[in-house]
Amino acid sequence: MFDGFIIRAIIAGVGVALVVGVLGCFVVWRRMAYFGDSLAHSSLLGIALGLLYGFSVNIGIIIVCSVFAVLLVWLQHKHILATDTLLGILAHASLSLGMVALSFLDYIQFDLHSYLFGDILTITNTDLLWIYLGGGAVLTLLILNWSSLTLMTIHEDLAKAEGVRTFRTQLLLMFLMTIVVAFSVRIVGILLITSLLIIPAATARQLAKTPESMAVTASILGVAAVLLGIFGSLQFDTPSGPSIVTAASLLFLILFPVLKLRSSLQKTGHT
């Protein structure tokens, strides 16, 4: 009853949603939304390099985003400029550089729009492999480092005193984000990746009592948003990436006040 491309889109979207739900919690807790956004902007340069030199766009994104992250950490240690200033500079410099590089590519056909907003309906089997292998690796590393990451998020020095190598763990988290940015570009595009990271996690916040349940809930909400988005996109012939983010936002808008009301009712019930 479904065409192959729809099935591939669903498999891809569900895979991405499962990973970004978990990673998104750390983005919310550690206030990395602007970092995620900047990373995604810089990935355009990676796309340009990938197309220019003929290797995979995903590899290009991972290389450029990793350089971006290392550069950011190095500049942060200089303590001269605030992090948001540094992010602003790095993000827009690499975005512009990416656009400039792409302008040299007039001999290659590519759809800039699909990189900016994603195009889940043109997913290939190679994309699926990237999502499931990359996503599997990201999830595994997140779970293995879960308690260190969570403790470090609660209190950095406390984690250090208890033997967490915080610098290494922080770099790991940044690297995991570059991988996720690389394979999510195909789904929601450069401009919308951050929303996929933070909206399900933010919605899950009200539903959860522990960090772990927040991560699981965020993943489930992400999957729901992807499915709603894809079907909405087919039904109303709307662009897929923005439809997914619209669905996620609707879930947030509906659930957030309802849950807020429920928790305040519970509070008054107790006292």
Binding site: W29, T150, I154, L158, E162, K209, T210, S213
Partner: protein
């Protein structure tokens, strides 16, 4: 080595400023050391060097093998964005047996807080939870960085009493940065007065009469300390100006 930690002549220079200069310190088994000093005197840096967060530019820090340190940060700002209960927080990254957990919970009187989210706790409750977490590893040494700074006076008193009780019962060493010398006077065995270098150190009543202590904290502080040390059993009429 009989000491838990031996600090030999460490110096730290950061941004061309001398933060610590030739600081030496010994933390022995069952010691109770209070480090005092004005803001920016390098107290936190000294703790960072002790715990190995920061390598001093010169000098050496040696720890006894298998030394377990329990660390209590100045404060924990529990963030609303992360839902986490006290119980889950205590068990995060810890493999404790249930008996040990129950003991520590009793010791720090946090049984009634276990199911609450971290961010609803008061300052004093949070410090007790942090203390519980530090004790779970059964440390030989407890390092506390101004642990009562954000508590009100009665909270400070109660917290220091608890620290003293744990120090005596568990026979563990305590190293504490604190401004509340008058409150920890009775339990402190050794005061280290730090202002980039060790100005003076020794038993509390000796230190408070040291000219370096008086020049750093002023006569009033020295007088206050000596009053405290007489444990209020007689009045000091002559001290009224």
């Amino acid at each position: 080595m009989n000491n838990l930690i031996q600090v030999d002549n460490i110096s730290v220079i950061r941004d061309r400023k001398q933060i610590l200069s030739n600081v030496s310190l010994e933390v022995g088994v069952n010691d109770f050391i209070t480090i005092i000093g004005p803001n920016g005197a390098g107290k936190s840096m000294l703790l960072k060097c002790l715990m190995g967060f920061y390598q001093p530019d010169s000098g050496a820090v040696a720890c006894s093998p298998n030394l377990k340190i329990g660390y209590l940060p100045q404060r924990l700002v529990a963030d609303l964005t992360m839902p986490i209960t006290v119980k889950r927080f205590l068990q995060l990254r810890k493999t404790t047996n249930p008996n040990e957990l129950t003991n520590v919970i009793d010791e720090t009187q946090i049984a009634s807080l276990l199911s609450l989210p971290l961010y609803v706790l008061s300052g004093g409750e949070l410090q007790r939870v942090l203390l519980a977490r530090a004790l779970l590893d059964q440390p030989q040494l407890l390092i506390l960085d101004e642990p009562a700074q954000n508590l009100d006076v009665s909270g400070q008193l109660a917290f220091y009493k608890l620290i003293e009780k744990i120090h005596l019962e568990r026979k563990l060493a305590v190293l504490m940065v604190s401004h509340d010398l008058h409150l920890v006077m009775s339990s402190t065995k050794k005061v280290v007065c730090l202002y980039h270098h060790v100005c003076c150190s020794g038993e509390p009543q000796v230190v408070t009469q040291d000219p370096e202590f008086i020049s750093l904290f002023g006569n009033d502080m020295a007088r206050l300390m000596s009053v405290y040390h007489h444990t209020h059993d007689h009045a000091h009429e002559d001290h009224h100006v």
